[in-house]
Symmetry: D2
Subunit: 350 residues, 4 copies
Amino acid sequence: MRALTIHGPKDIRCTDVPDAALPDGLGAVVKVRLAGICGSDLHIYGGHGFSDDTGYTVGHEAVGEVVEVGDQVRRFRVGDSVLIPASVGCALCATCATGRVSTCEHRGQPWRQYCYGMSHALEGSQAEAVAVPHADVNLVTIPDEVGDEAALLLTDNAPTAWYGARRARIAPGDTVTVVGLGPVGLLAVQSAFAMGAARVLAVDPVAHRRERAVSMGAEPVEADDPKTRIRELTCGLGTDAVVEAVGADETISLAISAARVGGRVSVVGVSQNRAFPFRMDTAQVRELEFSIGLCSAQYELPALLALTAAGRLDPASLVTHRLDLEGGPGGYELLSERVDGVVKVVIDGR
Amino acid sequence: MRALTIHGPKDIRCTDVPDAALPDGLGAVVKVRLAGICGSDLHIYGGHGFSDDTGYTVGHEAVGEVVEVGDQVRRFRVGDSVLIPASVGCALCATCATGRVSTCEHRGQPWRQYCYGMSHALEGSQAEAVAVPHADVNLVTIPDEVGDEAALLLTDNAPTAWYGARRARIAPGDTVTVVGLGPVGLLAVQSAFAMGAARVLAVDPVAHRRERAVSMGAEPVEADDPKTRIRELTCGLGTDAVVEAVGADETISLAISAARVGGRVSVVGVSQNRAFPFRMDTAQVRELEFSIGLCSAQYELPALLALTAAGRLDPASLVTHRLDLEGGPGGYELLSERVDGVVKVVIDGR
Amino acid sequence: MRALTIHGPKDIRCTDVPDAALPDGLGAVVKVRLAGICGSDLHIYGGHGFSDDTGYTVGHEAVGEVVEVGDQVRRFRVGDSVLIPASVGCALCATCATGRVSTCEHRGQPWRQYCYGMSHALEGSQAEAVAVPHADVNLVTIPDEVGDEAALLLTDNAPTAWYGARRARIAPGDTVTVVGLGPVGLLAVQSAFAMGAARVLAVDPVAHRRERAVSMGAEPVEADDPKTRIRELTCGLGTDAVVEAVGADETISLAISAARVGGRVSVVGVSQNRAFPFRMDTAQVRELEFSIGLCSAQYELPALLALTAAGRLDPASLVTHRLDLEGGPGGYELLSERVDGVVKVVIDGR
Amino acid sequence: MRALTIHGPKDIRCTDVPDAALPDGLGAVVKVRLAGICGSDLHIYGGHGFSDDTGYTVGHEAVGEVVEVGDQVRRFRVGDSVLIPASVGCALCATCATGRVSTCEHRGQPWRQYCYGMSHALEGSQAEAVAVPHADVNLVTIPDEVGDEAALLLTDNAPTAWYGARRARIAPGDTVTVVGLGPVGLLAVQSAFAMGAARVLAVDPVAHRRERAVSMGAEPVEADDPKTRIRELTCGLGTDAVVEAVGADETISLAISAARVGGRVSVVGVSQNRAFPFRMDTAQVRELEFSIGLCSAQYELPALLALTAAGRLDPASLVTHRLDLEGGPGGYELLSERVDGVVKVVIDGR
């Protein structure tokens, strides 16, 4: 079958790979209808992958149709329309059974994979089909009311945003800052309002991204001294909650400074810093609560599916570009060159 | 000054009463701009008052301007634009200081009054002016972004609805039933969505009320066998949460039957039943959580003011009829005769 | 094999029944070491069973050793020492996977059984062995630090008590009332303290039960006008939380009257009343929160096992009488005749 | 009157100062029965005070008797036995009214003082008497069941420990690490158990402190590679919650490394680091929740008083040394020289 494979920095190709096959009696094979290119795929594309492998299929966001199921799979059948959460559970331990796959009791075990498309250990889904392990915990049925593009965003970006907003413990009536307005940040704006935020301050240096946030009801904060601007907009207090969706040192520092006394800061941007300079002294007098993590998409999906089916979240609106699988490498270029107006690029295999 | 006073069943008059005066150094006098007629005022009008007094001024919903303050009042000044929460705190105990005036440690003390306009003990606010005890806990400043009519609804109806929704522990993604679509029920629909409800099923026998709920995003449930209809709309499960805003036996029973297994039912409709026939057997196998109460408006107001100021709640939209003080008795007639199209009647003293 | 079977009111016999056998590839067979007689078994014994069957094996509390496992069972092996939660999950739906088997999405399906020993549909565990369906969700490993008798209490009585205390939302520093001091009530006393209760008022007419509660740190309340006594002990306020562990009308009414304004009442005593006379009027002005239900033992067990292993709960201390299987019918007599000093009767098959 | 005043590094003297006097109609004067020397007093003693003042009275932990009250004080009378929370509220804003004085809306205002004994702005309580501003929010009645020494610990050390444990969101059944076993750490051990911890791992290099923790039920962790030892004691997982009560870089780092995936770390040790090297990369894959702050004693006291009155917390047990006011400077020496066996030093003015 055809798939996007990585061969070196900036070298993603559409090539022939072996057909996706059932891993065992608990797995399934899904024919891919839509696959998404995620910000973390750009790390791989940029030469900063998460393994030393080469030639593997990339991608961890996909929706499609079940075409084969193992004989011990109980919740899915051939023909089911499914979304494939980016996070992968072991299906054995009690926490994975609840969908909290990121707190798997078998983390660290060699056979425990976290994500598709990071190495040959679990081939990616930017392909005609993908093999899914432990289907009962790693597939989710797409309800009739949810379209493919919305479902695609629910595999990773929307659950990450929702988890970030949830860990910021947004309560009805809160004022919230969202730092960074890529797909995750924009979905964090939607999530904050869905959780009852009265106001959302949306920070990003790029004008078209701020405009999107404004169209969702947010108040724009430009990059020039955002800390001061946030204070001005909040009577000098800062906001009740902050969601950070970039992962850079300066954006995490901004997030911390944007919180009011007793406020909550939640980071979902990916940080690789082994010694982030944390201002403990001011954090202490300001009673900071700080959380950082990577979501278990499965755990967030019940609420997200209900809200998307009801039209109260609109993740599909983020899709700005569609390409076919052969054009996939061009999608990586679009994103890595930050072409104006690009938010979410989708590979359409339908 | 002029005021609406009660003299017997269906006998409310606009009469002369003594001017409102400072009760003591902790009190204030507020010149009333708007006063609302509440469902519980209709109990009094119907001859089922909460005391044996007669001739007292009625009404417990009002907004206006502070015209006099006691010398120990610290948070308000003459000229402040304020709303007067229907619930009254003692200002002395720790729970009242937090706004939870309904859990006052001095409940049951003779000098402890709960509400305006129920007897001569605390004269009502359907008048030119009203005396407010313990102003620091019994007045709330109206923010610039909140209009008088919205603020008026925030004195009682909206906090009651919000408290009901909050006690139903509505979580983002939930499906919610609201039983009864008077002002409190319609505000419960708004509250449920503001708390993240994906769907709200709105039950009322009156078409124009259901239409209002539909315009807020709810799904209408007509009165003919609503229990079955709610099951049909929820795959046979019932809803995650239910808010009851009527208080009659049959509507409380409907609310209980509308909850899914493990669901939460919250009653804010006023019930006088001393022996409501509660189905313990089914409640037990269905793991019911049931709450009933009367709100402390003060406690609910910070979130409500923030959401109203941001335009995310629209309580003012419920006002359908405006009258001046002299026309007040006619407002009681409008409501008690259930004239079609009446939702909220307001007495405008501006 | 030998088992206790029910043949009519007061007619439980130790008889020969077919050997327990694997139900299917997902099931297991457990050789029973200890089985308990529960209060609800006495309903069956008294002629008020939950089905029209006769001749079936009774009992739903057991611990033992896995002697056979289906080929699709992933978490258990022959030889494992297990406790068998009284509540039974379908293992298919998402809620059962989390241990919340009482909110199973397949409730009401004919093939969905809730409990052992209520009919021939799922034979009981007062026997030499018992067949367990869906072993991965319906068995729990006994940690080394937990003895058999403690584990036996953890199959039903302790999770019921814990669930009741949890639903009463006991917070550190609370004063709690427990109504009824059978095994569940006494374990509710332990649970309340383990959750941080400062004080527990323990109500029961039987002196030796109150003495047990006192030995756990509780304050005894005798049956003669307990409502007044509870007020006296709480400055007239009532308690923050109440756990009811009887299920009779008068004890539920007492529980409701024992709560302070804003207090929480949680009923785990089994009530069959289809029209319990609920005082809505006082409940409303007192802002009552009321919950009733039957626990999912699986869901409660992680905390209970940790606390029992650490010696912070002592469920084994409730066992007062031990009999062998042949003597089982005598155990029913002991309990039904309320012999002084009897708390928990255990059938020892070791 | 006599008081302990600071005149330079290691120069604390018992001197004559002006008598404590009513600050205004909202204040009170308290005759001090017991005063405590806190770890932060040692910062001042060591020359690292929080202001440039000199000659001011030190100390912020005290209990005593009200000897004078302003005419606007409503909740206290001369003769009342009170504890004086270390944290000071403005009594004006809504958050201070709730006891959350550390989130005061007037923080940063020049007239807003946080604590006694840091400068001349608010003289300390290691004296014969102390002036208390805004008595209604800054005094707390000592219940009959709570002795003076316990009450003294409740002014600062115990609320700090409790707040730390609360922000670590300790749930019943949790395993908890406490890093640092001074008065706050030892009270965090007690707090964790009171909140339902199954196990507490107690880390400190000093043997007699670990022994005290063990006597409270904790498991000792010696200083030599505590991180590895904590993993060994928790099947390699780390603990559910961690309370840090030192404030040094290495102990904060240890606290972070001691948490399980998804665990919560709460720091109450005072940190002055403006660039603590935070390991964001591992924090992210381990889904860390981190909080740091200084408590509002008033807010924590209701639960603490109830538990202490019931004998479920025993803060008085930490007092190891008692001195009179003239001997106060010797108390500072005892603590700063870390004399073996010293935990809490109390100045007894009775």
